[in-house]
């Protein structure tokens, strides 16, 4: 019979031991944050400086030139001109740009004549940097409106807002879910490989088998512990990523299945590796062989979509891929049907790994 009381007693002792082990604590909580700091700094340098604003000037007159130079004079945007011959919308999409401005052909003439004229602003409503660019652009346009007309007259320059048909994501947006996946993999996997082979070697399992604690309760307490650890690590990473690198991540209840299934999957897998290995050395080798490809090819450090096709094919057989894919679906794209599919796949793999690990794992020898 599964006893929650015994499981929690084991969890309490294991947790205390974990907190007393500084190395485990470092790799479990601090290391993923350090990775975010390093990779975030490398790949998102300058994101707080002036943001690029792509402008297609179809007018070429004095007022439009002046507008561009005023925009450029602000601290927040740097104008990058796009040739009038380009299809602006396509250009933004192809170059993964969210912020753009089209100045229409008769802009200067209309402005001088006092005839209302609209510019087109492209922006990404979910991006905070895009909001900054949009705000700056509006500010500059209003100053042009106020310059020649009385406050009570309607603005002469209007704006049509549109969204660029491109997905604008920064590296750090992918890095957060990727490294959350990394920490979900690494902590339980390495820990369980290590302790399950070590406890077997020093015959601690045999000793525990002489108490009413069952192997399912023992494994259960490890799963609960790593769910807790992964959740803490998750909050730390999201906090650091958002605060320091302005990562755009969506927090939703849809993340919970991944934060539960992930640690359960890798605790079971680690247990399985430790159980089938003859000794601690073999366990460590097999553990590395299983873990390292997943660590790099599942979208932890780089989005899988940016990898060559043959590596993408490999990624699709790695369980961690479906966890990170699901985290991306929730945290970046808010695509819940994709997340649901990932949850389904991860559930099947997790249940299989848990059942096999619990079956093969032996308390006592015959």
């Amino acid at each position: 019979m599964f006893s929650l009381k015994r499981t929690l007693a084991d969890l309490r002792l294991f947790g205390k031991g974990y907190l007393r082990n500084r190395i485990g604590l470092f790799f479990g909580l601090i290391f993923p944050v350090i990775l975010i700091l390093i990779f975030g700094a490398i790949f998102s340098g300058g994101s707080n400086g002036p943001f690029p604003l792509y402008v297609q000037n179809n007018d070429g007159g004095q007022v439009s030139t002046s507008l561009i130079s005023v925009l450029n004079g602000t601290d927040t945007v740097r104008v990058k001109l796009v040739s009038s011959s380009e299809n602006f919308s396509n250009y933004l999409s192809v170059h993964s740009i969210s912020d753009g401005l089209i100045i229409p052909a008769n802009f200067t003439a209309s402005y001088i004549a006092g005839a209302p004229i609209n510019v087109t602003i492209y922006r990404n409503p979910s991006s905070s940097s895009s909001a900054v660019v949009q705000g700056t652009t509006f500010g500059v346009l209003n100053s042009f409106n106020f310059e020649y007309y009385a406050h009570n007259s309607p603005p002469i320059i209007g704006a049509v807002l549109t969204t660029a048909n491109s997905q604008i994501y920064r590296y750090v947006d992918f890095l957060i879910p990727g490294l959350i996946g990394f920490s979900i993999l690494v902590s339980p996997m390495f820990s369980l490989v290590n302790i399950s082979s070590e406890y077997k070697k020093i015959k601690l399992f045999k000793q525990l088998s002489l108490t009413p604690l069952t192997k399912l309760e023992w494994l259960g307490s490890k799963v609960i512990f790593y769910i807790f650890l992964s959740s803490v690590s998750f909050l730390l990473m999201v906090g650091v990523g958002s605060a320091l690198f302005k990562a755009n991540v969506v927090l939703s209840l849809w993340l919970i299945p991944f934060l539960i299934l992930g640690p359960m999957l890798f605790s079971s897998l680690g247990m399985l590796v430790g159980t089938v290995s003859r000794n601690t050395e073999t366990a460590s080798v097999i553990g590395n062989v299983v873990t390292f490809p997943m660590m790099f090819l599942s979208g932890t450090f780089f989005p899988v979509a940016s990898m060559p096709m043959y590596l993408q094919a490999i990624a699709h057989v790695l369980p961690l891929y479906y966890i990170i894919d699901g985290l991306n679906a929730v945290m970046i794209y808010s695509n819940y049907s994709a997340a649901l599919l990932d949850i389904g796949i991860v559930t099947v793999i997790t249940v299989a790994a848990f059942v096999i690990a619990a079956r093969l794992f032996k308390w006592r020898e015959d």
Binding site: K5, R6, L8, A9, D10, R12, L13, F14, K16, G17, Y18, R20, N21, I202, K203, L204, K206, Q207, S209, L210, T211, P212, L213, R364, E365, D366
Partner: protein
Amino acid sequence: MIPVEIADVKKNYGSLKAVDGVSLSVIKGEVFALLGPNGAGKTTLIEIMEGLRKQDSGSVKVLELDPWENGGELHKKIGVIPQNFTFFEKANPKEAISYYASLFGVEVSPGKILKEVLLEDSATNLFENLSGGQKQKMGLALSMVNNPELLFLDEPTTGLDPNARRAIWEVIMGFKNKGTTVILTTHYLEEAEHLSDRVAIMNEGHIAAIGTVDEIIEAHGSGERLEVHGSEKMADYIKANTDLKVEFDGKDLISINIDRKHDALAAMAAIEASELEWHELRTRRDSLEDVFIKLVRGVVDAQGEVTFSGKKVSNNDGGQ
């Protein structure tokens, strides 16, 4: 109720007969020692009784339960310290006792138990920082948590210094005085003699002798002897002039078997009549050690290995 009753138990590891047809029973309230060199099969036998291993054949009843089939039920009633007791490195004895109490679903006072095993001074020291003797005491403490009727101690003092060993003995004597039945394995003769009510000498998977120390010496020893230091000539004189069984060790020790009271007088008369030089006359009985050496056909060193004429004999115990 007889706490332990086993009959014709066999266990092989491949071609090695670790336990080869052992039958014995343990009486309630006694300290029973399985004494033997490494590789004798002691640990395998005790682990079969604990339900940690399954015998190949034979019957095993411990507290009227089949240990392998009813391990869960049995483990609530017994206490065990396996060979080389170990625990989570980052836990201290106090936490370990509370942990075991939660697992067994019992209320205990860690302080009281630690006092009983003489470990109260190290209650909050992490397991990794305890000495070998303290670790064993913590094992004893854990084995007491469920207030067991029957205690199994597998080599409880192996590798400990003499002081630590005596401290563990003191704790085990405390169990005995409380009326707990204790089964222990050891390769220390002194330990078996000091602690146990009955001893089974195990060798190569067999029980070579079983009973109280006196009974074993009586059954397997060579009885009482008269020993005297003298020459081979004297040994020959005694042989020629009495019907006594006389042995000469090749140097200067003459050993004469005393089967009847009269034999001692006859031997002394012959020594006197020989008019040869002699000194240090004494009577001697076989000790447990003499019997043990005879039964295992060698001397057991501090590590439990059997040595024949100075050469170590390889065996493959290592706690199997």
